[in-house]
Homo-oligomer: 311 residues x 3
């Protein structure tokens, strides 16, 4: 997420009770978790294995608990508990606010947009023109919705990221990202779109989702995609334009599905998929290869009989 | 959907700016998409491959963009864009209306029926006697519910069909069908039952659904079926009486599951299933055959070793 | 469920129009369905196959329609229709009550707890301190929630058990159990947690659930478990501490998953799983064994070619 104004690294360090090593006058424009970090951002790392990676990455500064020997260049803030410091910053910049009405007085709702009864429109929400927000939907604080968007009943936008650090128990990383829905999107009944933990969860223009679809935090979905019912997409996934996912497909976190890929029902996706190809299976393979495999397995009793007879 | 009164084909043609070929005095009783069309209906087709099929089908008239050489008999309306003309007719006859209260003043609710707080009951809804509509359910415009029906919290009845025509973008076919729930049905929490795109989505009497079930548009489900949690059923499916679907089963569109079929958990159904049989797998096979296949695959390392040793 | 005060067996018999055989002065402390019955409880059985089992079990008394020859010892109530008698008792002790407000006046809500707009808090609900109950959630009658619990929008707690007896039609066993959520639990958007049919559905402290998860009746989940989106867990399941279930996993009823087990996405669990092991597949196997099996199946065309060539 981006700060309202750039903040000097030394000021951030003071806020979280840390010590700057390097140039404290560097201006920080926002904060982001390691998967979605950009130049100008501050991020964090508390594990020796990842600190070096974070220091080499795109962040302009990193909150750490220890500085590798010989490190120079990128400025850091050293604190005892980087996760605590970072999630504290997230909380301070979280869009969650006090809500006392179903439609928050400060929500911005465009002309021609219809909000049906029982829908909750949280503080800081912006909805474009000619949208239809059905009964009993939940549009949580800070969500941004374009023009001509349809959200069906029971859908929830802007629930928290499912993101924890396990120590003795699971500790929550507070979500300060948003949900951003482009123009001409349709979201089915009882869909859930989590907000980014620090960046945005984005649904591209013209994309259509059937009912009961889950989209995890910080996932970015392209334009004119079509997702059938009960598809589940984890966090930090990138889905390019014109992708079709049929019913009950599952997509694991932190991967990319290329433009125009088609994934048949109940498939499970555990790694990047090239665009323009049709896939099937759990785990997925190219669909014809998977179909041949299924046919072969079905013929196995005959094949084995033949092979044994040939002995 | 059926019109309030029969309408002459010539009148319909005038409404959509089309030209009649054939008998314009034919009375049209309703409109339906090609999968659920019946005698008396008008339907549409805009693809050369399907126009001939539509003209041979049960419709009393068809909206087309071109008439095959030598066609005679069934009257047609010729327009430039049949999809646009048809979806315009759907919109004009859609049950969606303006709703400003959680319980619409014109909804009909039978004696002994309890509506718990936060439930939305849309315009034109009819609910029978002795029903229990739990908190925060959504019963959208024009849904019809029988007697002694229980709808659990978070369920959504009458969301739009997931039905688009892809051109440069996905264009929505407006839904004008209904959801019709017979007596003694129970619908679990967070289930979604889409309305028919032009016909009705029907749940037969005594059928029980667990939570998180999706039922697509124009699907017709028989009596005394039992569906476990997270089952997903696409559109235009026919499920006969006494069918059991266990948890997370997926059913593709436009197929029939015969009476008394039982489908084990996580199975995927891509074609018609004969009744009275138990099935398993994705894609499904008869359950014992599938179990044997799974056992054989597990033994493959031993079998291959034996075969190689036998060389 | 436990009665407010112990009730003599003879008094219960009078209420349901049955006849005591054995000691009618025995005090009954509660009622429970056969899977969760404990000493002090009364249960029921109406099938010859299970009556002997019920009589040997932990119940202090059993409602039956016939007493096996030679039975002595455990007292019984004989009625014509044990299911009807038992479900009548369940109904009489059900926590469901009349609710006319979104937040029931008799609900107890701890200090620091925030209830956002549109949430339904039913009669008899008790919520601890510093909880966050998001907009449009449903916390049904009699649910018990600990401290620092977060419930996301669209979630439903305390929907009825999916539990029927099939005769000519499906007859519902009325639910009189509760949902009990311990401290520091997080429940994702559009999750559904059914109440126990007669016992409690329990979520242990520190357990975190992503969106769209279903938990069936009388299921008991341990501490610090992590369940990803769209997991479905049937009724009467026991999940020990520190279990991880990844997305879209399905768990069948009446089984136990041991402490620290990890189950990969889309797996299907049909029997007990030992703790401390990673599993994959539908049905599940130990994950590495399953991965080897998948690799072998992929190589089958080559293996078969080689074997045939060797003839």
């Amino acid at each position: 997420m981006r700060f309202d104004r750039p903040i000097a690294l030394s000021e951030l360090a003071a806020r979280i009770g840390g010590t700057v090593q390097g140039d404290g006058s560097v201006l920080i424009h926002g904060l982001n978790e390691i998967h979605r970090v950009e130049e100008g951002d501050i991020t964090f790392s508390d594990h020796p294995k990842y600190i070096a990676k974070a220091l080499k990455g795109r962040a302009s500064a990193v909150i750490v608990n220890t500085v590798p020997d010989g490190h120079s260049g990128k400025p850091v803030i050293v604190v005892e508990k980087p996760f605590d410091a970072f999630t504290g910053l997230c909380l301070a910049h979280s869009p969650w606010r006090s809500a006392s009405a179903l439609i928050s007085p400060d929500a911005q709702i465009g002309p021609g947009t219809v909000i049906r009864p029982g829908a909750f429109i949280g503080p800081g929400v912006r909805i474009g023109a000619d949208c239809l927000i059905h009964a009993n939907t939940t549009i949580n604080d800070g969500c941004i919705i374009g023009d001509r968007v349809i959200i069906h009943s029971g859908a929830v936008l802007g629930s928290d990221a499912f993101y924890y650090k396990r120590t003795d128990a699971y500790r929550k990383l507070n979500s300060c990202g948003r949900v951003v829905i482009a123009d001409d999107v349709e979201i089915g009944a009882c869909c859930t779109i989590d907000r980014g933990v620090t960046a945005d969860t984005v649904i591209g223009s013209g994309t259509k989702m059937d009912n009961h679809i889950h989209v995890g935090h910080d996932t970015v979905i392209g334009r004119n995609c079509l997702f059938a019912a009960q598809v589940g997409i984890a966090g930090v996934v990138t889905i390019e334009d014109d992708v079709i996912l049929w019913g009950q497909v599952g997509v694991q976190k932190d991967l990319t599905i290329g433009r125009g890929a088609v994934v048949l029902g109940q498939s499970g996706i555990a790694g990047d998929l090239e665009g323009g190809v049709t896939y099937f299976g759990s785990p997925v393979r190219e669909a014809r290869a998977k179909m041949k495999e299924l046919a072969l397995v079905k013929q196995l009793p005959d094949i084995i009989r033949e092979l044994k007879g040939g002995k």
